[in-house]
């Protein structure tokens, strides 16, 4: 039994190292503008080795480097961010149903974007406002939880309250919105990577990079924290501090991703569960594998969003419509929730 799981774990890690790169390379070949695979290769080689003879025609380079690559990198990093954030919070709270929605991050970001799109015009970019309010939402959760911030139930309850508050505020903004601003907002709320550019990546990747890396480094401590508070304290861990560190990091990574992609649900819930089904609940494996498979999931979802029809399907809708039934089938088949 243990041998089988070890084999599964090894296979999962090998796949995690290879799959995101393979999907990224394949995804570079997918898009409305047809670029022959050979031209994709020569254009990339031409860009990497500018002096070489091989280089693709200019429209190919523009499409690959200005449109596809930033979009794919955003999908890769946002997928990793959402999945790692979800996995860390689930481990921390020992609750399989916790994800970014639970701490008010998504509704905080949505409210920030709404304020910007509806009332502030172009003065404050929606991305910046979404990020600021996602952080405000998490800080509000921590403040409301107060001295009981180490208590799982208190934090989750505070998250529910803050989420509900921002959801209500979002509805209020929607109610007063100019119908055209409302259209922009609804479009943003459905989630999309279609507008990704290098500027977005420049703002987002450093935060996601730091957040995901530190959470992966903390995977040992998450194992200790998930033993229970008394056990963790007995092992010399400052439970309150560690919890706040994990929550803040998860919030930062999710907020950075949500600010540029809009609300993309379920990645943070589904991916960690799938990983646990494959390799068990050990966070030393779950956290890094969630990063890789979260990246893969969002890359594939975006490929479908871009190529299933001549128009784009919002990726947030796809992750929900495809992800939830898939998740239900897996749960039914396995008959339990992994944690």
């Amino acid at each position: 039994m243990s041998g089988t799981r070890n084999k599964k774990t090894t296979a999962a890690f090998i796949l995690a190292a290879v799959l995101p790169v393979v999907i990224l390379v394949l995804s570079l070949n997918i898009g409305a503008y047809r670029i022959p695979p050979k031209a994709v290769f020569t254009t990339i080689v031409g860009a990497v080795f500018p002096g070489g003879a091989a280089s693709g025609p200019s429209p190919y380079a523009d499409i690959l480097f200005r449109i596809r690559l930033p979009r794919l990198l955003l999908a890769l990093f946002a997928g990793a961010a959402l999945a790692v954030s979800g996995a860390s919070l689930q481990a921390l709270f020992k609750n399989p149903l916790v994800f970014e929605f639970s701490l008010g991050i998504s509704y905080g970001a949505a409210f920030g974007a709404a304020l910007s799109l509806v009332f502030l015009g172009r003065k404050v970019p929606a991305q910046a406002a979404a990020f600021v309010f996602a952080i405000i939402a998490v800080l509000a959760v921590l403040v409301i939880a107060g001295k009981s911030a180490s208590q799982v139930v208190t934090i989750l309850l505070s998250g529910v309250i803050v989420s509900a508050l921002f959801q209500a505020l979002l509805s209020l903004v929607e109610f007063f919105a100019n119908p055209y601003a409302l259209q922009s907002l609804i479009f943003w709320l459905m989630g999309s990577l279609s507008q990704a550019d290098w500027k977005d990546l420049g703002m987002t990747l450093p935060i996601i990079g730091v957040g995901v890396t530190v959470l992966i480094l903390l995977r040992w401590r998450l194992n200790v924290l998930s033993l229970g508070e008394d056990e963790a304290r007995a092992l010399g861990v400052n439970v309150k501090r560690e919890k706040i560190v994990v929550i803040v990091l998860a919030a930062l990574t999710t907020a950075a991703a949500t600010a540029v992609t809009g609300v993309i649900s379920w990645v943070g819930l589904i991916v960690p569960h799938l990983v646990r089904m494959a390799v068990g609940a050990d966070n030393r494996k779950v956290i890094p594998l969630s990063a890789a498979y979260g990246a893969c999931l969002l890359l594939v979802a975006d490929d479908i969003a871009r190529s299933a029809a001549s128009f784009e399907i919002p990726i947030g809708i796809l992750t929900s419509v495809v992800g939830i039934p898939f998740f239900i089938v897996l749960l039914k088949k396995s008959g339990k929730i992994w944690l």
Binding site: A32, Q195, A309, E312, P314
Partner: protein, 355 residues
């Protein structure tokens, strides 16, 4: 014996009610119409009190000269429409009887004692719900972005209001004017018209799959190619790659907002490095246009088509002046001078005159 003084307050209004319909020529037989949902509706011969939840219908009622019959209007016209306050200043005093999303506020509506309510065809469940609760005719009318249906809508409203003559005037003017634009725009041959991409609803990537002013002005809406596969009615979302692939000669940005409220601007498209290779960007042919505004204003869509025809074929309309042309068309519809100029001051469309 009842003293005459005590019955006068009851008798006089009754007499007035008997006299008034004849005086305004409203004593007519009920009219049967077919609304935009294909439903047959019997409208009473006397329609004096109207609630309209559909901005396009409200504008046409005013153009028919019957704005005085409006007793309630919708949320959009009061709070967000930049044109309607100029076209029909009394609208500022009319009660708003709908919320965002055009649902009827029944407690506001019932005391207004409407004879008919106009609703939006895109809200068909709401139309039926209003009919059941209010127990009066509810007609769902709108052009849904089609010129032919806009003309039918004007004719239908003319019949309902007993203003067939004025409706005929307006539809004749509309059709003749539109035909003149079409002929002038197509004089060089329809096939030579520019390919056009429309950036609408505050987004670079949201575009209407059908926008008749573009075709009437001699252009080709590239997103109309999505029609066989796209099931939606108005707008599709495309990718930037798709825009590059289409390589439009002209990009039009919806400009129905005051400049400060625009999420998408001509400048942002011209500066976007991802679009640098697109013909429209390279040649600077990125412009504002008006676009849908809860469907159309019948005068504004005519002005827009003329404006686009000039934009697509500058050589064919050397003397075109957007503001002058706009004021003339608006006067024809609403009978007041300077309406389009007033709108232009809000939208700053004086700056739009191209080339």
């Amino acid at each position: 014996m009842i003293p005459a003084k005590s019955i006068l307050p009851f008798v006089l209004p009754a007499l007035a009610a008997m006299i008034t319909p004849a005086a305004v020529g409203q004593s007519r037989s009920p009219v049967t119409i077919v609304d935009s949902l294909g439903r047959e509706i019997v409208v009473p011969g006397r329609v004096e009190r109207i609630i309209s939840l559909e901005p396009e219908v409200t504008r046409i009622i005013v153009a028919l000269g019957e704005g005085k019959r409006l007793v309630g209007i919708d949320f959009f016209l009061r709070h967000h429409d930049r044109l309607f306050p100029f076209v029909f200043p009394p609208s500022k005093r009319l009660p708003v009887v709908s919320n965002q999303g055009q649902d009827l506020n029944y407690e506001e509506a019932i005391p207004l004692r409407p004879d008919i309510i106009f609703s939006s065809p895109s809200e068909f469940r709401m139309t039926e719900a209003i009919e059941k609760k209010m127990r009066l005719p509810v007609a769902a009318l709108a052009s849904m972005g089609k010129f032919r249906d806009l003309v039918t809508e004007i004719e239908t409203l003319g019949r309902i209001l007993g203003r067939e003559d004025r409706a005929a005037e307006l539809t004749t003017y509309f059709k003749e004017h539109m035909e003149a634009i079409r002929r002038a725009a197509a004089a060089t041959g329809v096939d030579t018209g520019p390919t056009v991409y429309l950036s609408f609803w505050g987004s670079l990537l949201r575009t209407p799959v059908s926008y008749e002013p573009v075709e009437a002005a001699g252009g080709k809406n590239l997103a109309s190619r999505l029609l066989p596969s796209y099931l939606g009615t108005a707008g599709a979302t495309v990718s930037i790659e798709q825009v590059l692939l289409w390589d439009p000669e002209v990009i039009l940005v919806q400009g129905n907002y005051p400049p400060a409220e625009r999420q998408m601007t001509v400048e942002s498209i011209l500066r976007d490095p991802r679009l640098a290779s697109v013909r429209a960007v390279r040649t600077g042919r990125v412009h504002y246009t008006f676009g849908f505004w809860y469907w159309w204003d019948p005068a504004l869509v005519l002005v827009e088509t003329a404006y686009l025809a000039r934009l697509f074929n500058p050589g064919r309309f050397p003397d075109f002046d957007l503001v002058r042309e706009g004021d003339e068309i608006f006067k024809e519809f609403y009978g007041t001078e300077g309406l389009f100029s007033a709108l232009c001051r809000v939208l700053e469309c004086h700056e739009w005159n191209p080339e």
